[in-house]
């Protein structure tokens, strides 16, 4: 479906086109005329790119820490967190809707893996490592947001008791 843009949206399109494609001398002059602190601008841009690359590394490490858990480690994590092992498997395959997981549980899982909560959240939001998805057909990989299940649903499917589910959903 083609949605007609508002004049405001077209104005933004044109503004962004100017910023990205105006001849260099005109873009530089525009920055100078608006009193832009170029050194500060360059510092902010550099920090944004460096920060993204650093966070991406941490995300990869968190994703690998989860994916590379041995069977014995998965059992230990499940025991320590008070969940069934199939729940750990769902986390390893990034099949859980992240916004449905309590901060407390995310923090405890991150601790178990020796990762930061932020890195774990970013990892879980992305697709699972391809090696874990080998048994799925290419168009059925459970890495799309629409195919994920809520944490509550996952716990119910694992036949956990109402009391256990309540504690995991709402506990610190």
């Amino acid at each position: 479906m083609i949605v007609k843009k508002t004049s405001d949206e077209r104005l933004l399109d044109a503004e962004l086109d100017f910023i990205m494609n105006a001849p260099q001398e005109h873009f530089d002059a525009y920055l100078a005329e608006t009193g832009t602190d170029i050194a500060q601008m360059d510092r902010k841009a550099m920090l944004a790119f460096d920060g993204a690359l650093k966070n991406h590394q941490k995300t990869n490490i968190a994703s690998e820490a989860l994916a590379n858990l041995t069977v014995a480690q998965q059992k230990a994590v499940a025991t320590n967190l008070g969940i069934r092992r199939q729940v750990v498997t769902a986390f390893r395959e990034h099949r859980v809707n992240v916004s449905s997981i309590s901060n407390g549980f995310l923090r405890r899982l991150a601790n178990e893996l020796g990762q930061t909560t932020d890195a774990l959240v970013r990892a879980l939001l992305g697709p699972a490592p391809a090696a874990l998805m080998g048994s799925y057909k290419s168009d059925e990989k459970p890495d799309s947001t629409s195919m994920r299940v809520t944490f509550e649903q996952l716990l119910k499917e694992a036949n956990m008791s109402e009391e256990e589910i309540g504690r995991l959903l709402h506990g610190d």
């Binding site: 100017f18 902010k44 944004a48 970013r122 629409s146």
Partner: protein, 217 residues
């Protein structure tokens, strides 16, 4: 600040997605290009300024960083047959600000003043029940509409009001209002010399910058 987004809708049949290595290479390439980084940060400023709610929560550089991360982490796919990396980054920033603005609008307190529930007409008579009941607008859509109306007023309308009917700056904005959205389209429609065109755009951009900074929370 991270929210789950489903970008499956933006996937088209035949799309060819960039590999992890291609994405990292593209990011590293931009890292070494100060000029492109400046332009992308300026883009982030303009996109960020479009949502008052997002402006309260973060800075333009945060939006830029999160968009890069979303692509690196493959939370957002790069269909390299359709869009270059810069175009993708801009699209992701726009989508993130739009989604986050909607999420923040939902979290805003649902306060309705009594006079809004029972507006009085010129005769100081309450509106009849049928009229009140016919208002099917939800709180969320009302907030979004009001924000959008506010932005329309503060951008296109205010910007256009700054210039006379025949000023080149005003004519540029008229072309945007008439449907043009790229520099090439606007230039072609106006048919004016390069230097005049770019100088006029610089002035429009300066004015837009000023409006954006004046509406900071």
């Amino acid at each position: 600040m991270l929210i789950e987004e489903n970008d499956e809708e933006s996937v088209l049949p035949g799309d060819v997605f960039a590999s992890k290595d291609e994405i990292v290479t593209a990011v590293e390439h931009i890292c070494g290009d100060t000029n492109i980084k400046r332009r992308l940060l300026k883009v982030a400023e303009f996109i960020w300024a479009k949502s008052k709610l997002v402006k309260r929560e973060c800075q333009p550089e945060d939006i830029l960083q999160e968009a890069i991360e979303a692509i690196l982490d493959k939370r957002r796919k790069w269909p390299k047959n359709r869009v270059d990396f810069n175009g993708l980054l801009i699209g992701v920033m726009r989508s993130m600000v739009s989604s986050r603005g909607k999420t923040l609008a939902k979290k805003s307190p649902d306060i309705t003043m009594e006079h809004e529930l029972h507006p009085l007409g010129e005769d100081q008579e309450p509106l009849n029940l049928e009229e009140v009941a016919a208002d099917r607008e939800t709180t969320e859509s009302r907030i979004l509409r009001k924000e959008q109306e506010g932005l329309e007023e503060s951008l296109m309308a205010i910007l256009r009001a700054k210039y006379g009917a025949t000023d080149i700056h005003g004519l540029i904005l008229d072309k945007v209002r008439d449907g043009c959205s790229s520099q090439a389209e606007i230039r072609e429609a106006l048919g004016i010399a390069d230097s005049v065109y770019w100088n006029a755009w610089k002035a429009v951009m300066r004015a837009a910058d000023k409006i954006n900074s004046n509406t900071k929370e």
